[in-house]
């Protein structure tokens, strides 16, 4: 069996890739192999746990989608090995499939720090459908929970668990929550939101040891011991790059790719949480484990796999998050102190911009976040904003606040490549 395009994974990057291939070529044959039984969105599991959506709502694209796009699927099957010389992959059931072009979109996995006495049975992670189903079941019998890690995923889990009536503590090594993306002011607002709901956040702290009786007993860095029914670890995501590494494909922190999403081996592409990619703003290669990065990376890979050379021109970290209906959008070097920082705090409404050479290299918009995409745009265009920088801090900043000469240039129609035309639902 041989296919022109083989895609490993069926999540964001993988879907971005098939959708792009089908825009170019309605005939090319495509096989998608994934360990997941269905194409669902990992980013939705917090909403499922909170009861905002049903299980079916997790499906990012329905099964019919693959039929309509004429994509062959092997779901619920792992890929064991890639042989880049023979251009073949081996599945866990022993099946061997040849490819002309291969996309590796194996995503990320939770990083688990070494903790004395910690067994796999002791803790949950919050990454997959299986994880959320296990947590949902465990919550029924639990009264208390401790979450290690006050990043976005850890805090989303904390919010869901406190809503379910658990007594929740979050243990975080940094001196504030969401330290990699927020500045002090915004971290403090978020901390206050959690405190108001009775979530205890233990900063500058970590778990050193786990022991157990009926409950788990956690010994913390500050010497304290706390008991809990449920323990979750959410300290970060790392690229799931073993498959690539074992195949001799170059891997640093993640699979190394260029702007076309090509790996070090010919005809093998990679995208999504499994790669490290050049951050246009931070000017360094690193994993950027976010939905849009995965989708866009997969999409660009799809074009290149179909023989249409295209670069992923702009990539940086971009987060949209909310806790107890407090919304925050960040992008780029959002919390950097290096550069000219302008900000305005009014109640819980906050705007902060980092400028270098008169250009936006990062921002945080919190509270009223409407239309934040305009700033992402100004950042991508590397537009000189010094002339109107004070206006950036107004709640209703818009294109009308940009000097006319530049404005029309930004708003004129751009001829772009690629037509998104299928019914995708």
């Amino acid at each position: 069996m041989k296919f022109e395009n083989v895609i490993i994974g069926n999540s964001s990057a993988a879907i971005g890739c098939v959708e792009a291939i089908r825009e170019i070529d309605s005939d090319a044959d495509i096989l998608m192999v994934s360990a997941d039984r269905q194409a669902y969105s990992r980013a939705l599991i917090p909403y499922y746990l909170r009861g905002k959506i049903e299980l079916e709502g997790l499906l990012y694209r329905r099964q019919e989608f693959f039929e309509r796009l004429n994509v062959e699927t092997k779901f619920g099957i792992r890929v064991e090995r890639i042989d880049t010389n023979k251009k073949e992959i081996t599945l866990e059931n022993g099946e061997i499939v040849g490819y002309e072009k291969l996309l590796i979109a194996t995503g990320g996995k939770p990083f688990i720090p070494k903790i004395e006495g910690l067994n796999a049975r002791d803790f949950f992670t919050f990454q997959t459908l299986e994880d959320v189903l296990r947590i949902k079941e465990a919550v029924e019998k639990a009264e208390s929970a401790v979450i290690l890690g006050a990043g976005i995923i850890g805090l989303m889990l904390a919010e869901a668990l406190v809503e379910k009536g658990l007594e929740v503590k979050v243990v975080e090594l940094a001196d504030r929550v969401l330290a990699p993306v927020l500045d002090k002011k915004t971290s403090e607002i978020v901390q206050r939101k959690f405190a108001e709901k009775g979530v205890e956040i233990l900063l500058n702290n970590t778990i050193l040891e786990v022991r157990r009786n009926e409950k788990k007993i956690l010994r913390l860095k500050d010497g304290r011991e706390i008991e809990t029914d449920l323990l979750a670890i959410a300290v970060g995501v790392v690229p799931n790059a073993e498959l690539a590494k074992n195949a001799g494909i170059k891997v640093n922190r993640g699979i190394v790719v260029n702007k076309r999403m090509e790996t070090s081996v010919k005809d093998v592409y990679a995208a999504g949480d499994c790669v490290e990619i050049f951050d246009s703003i931070a000017k360094t290669s690193r994993p950027i484990p976010l939905w849009i990065t995965a989708y866009m990376g997969g999409r660009i890979a799809g074009f290149n796999m179909s023989g249409i050379p295209r670069d992923l021109s702009f990539v940086t970290a971009m987060n949209s998050m909310h806790f107890f209906d407090y919304y925050i959008i960040t992008a780029g070097l959002s919390n950097s102190e290096d550069g000219e920082v302008i900000s305005r705090l009014e109640g819980e409404n906050y705007r902060r911009f980092v400028l270098r050479d008169g250009k936006i290299v990062g921002f945080i918009i919190a509270g009223k976040v409407g239309r934040a995409g305009i700033f992402t745009r100004l950042m991508e265009e590397e537009l000189e904003v010094s002339g109107f920088k004070d206006k950036l801090l107004n709640d209703n900043f818009g294109y009308v606040d940009i000097p006319e000469a530049i404005r029309w240039n930004l708003l004129k129609e751009k001829v772009k490549f690629g037509v998104v035309r299928d019914a995708w639902i």
Binding site: I53, G370, A372, V420, I425
Partner: protein, 137 residues
């Protein structure tokens, strides 16, 4: 298809905004929509203003829609070339707001507010007295 604006003939009368609101109200009646319906419907077309200027920012039904690429739930999709939004699937994560370069996706009163092209017959285009809005395919 998409809506394009000719700024040189737009005089900022806001008629497009008013009728967009009415078209997205329950009653579709201007007086009811403005005076009785609570919450009041939201216009989808964005009219920016400052003391001396105004500017229409419409959804461009982009060929490469960043809102759709950013959507974590599959609520935004294309159907026969037209961007569609399935409110039931949406979890209000605001990734689309973060991604739309024109700020044409709004978030008001806890809801995403975005252009639906009025079933391919956009009311804003029909009511504009100056033909400042136009449909192109």
């Amino acid at each position: 298809m998409r809506i394009v604006v000719k700024p040189e003939v737009c005089m900022g009368c806001q008629i497009c905004e008013i009728w967009c609101l009415v078209a997205h109200s329950m009653s579709k009646d201007i007086l009811n929509a403005f005076l009785l319906e609570k919450p009041r419907a939201k216009p989808r077309i964005v009219v920016e203003r400052n003391p001396s200027e105004y500017l229409i920012l419409q959804c461009r039904n982009c060929e490469e829609p960043k809102c759709m690429f950013a959507c974590i739930s599959g609520a935004i999709y294309k159907d026969n070339g037209v961007l569609k939004y399935n409110e039931e699937k949406c979890v209000s994560c605001l990734s689309c707001v973060m991604a739309c370069p024109y700020g044409a996706v709004k978030f008001e009163d806890g809801k995403i507010v975005r252009c639906d092209l009025c079933n391919l017959d956009p009311v804003c285009v029909k009511v504009c007295p100056n033909k400042a809005l136009e449909v192109v395919s």
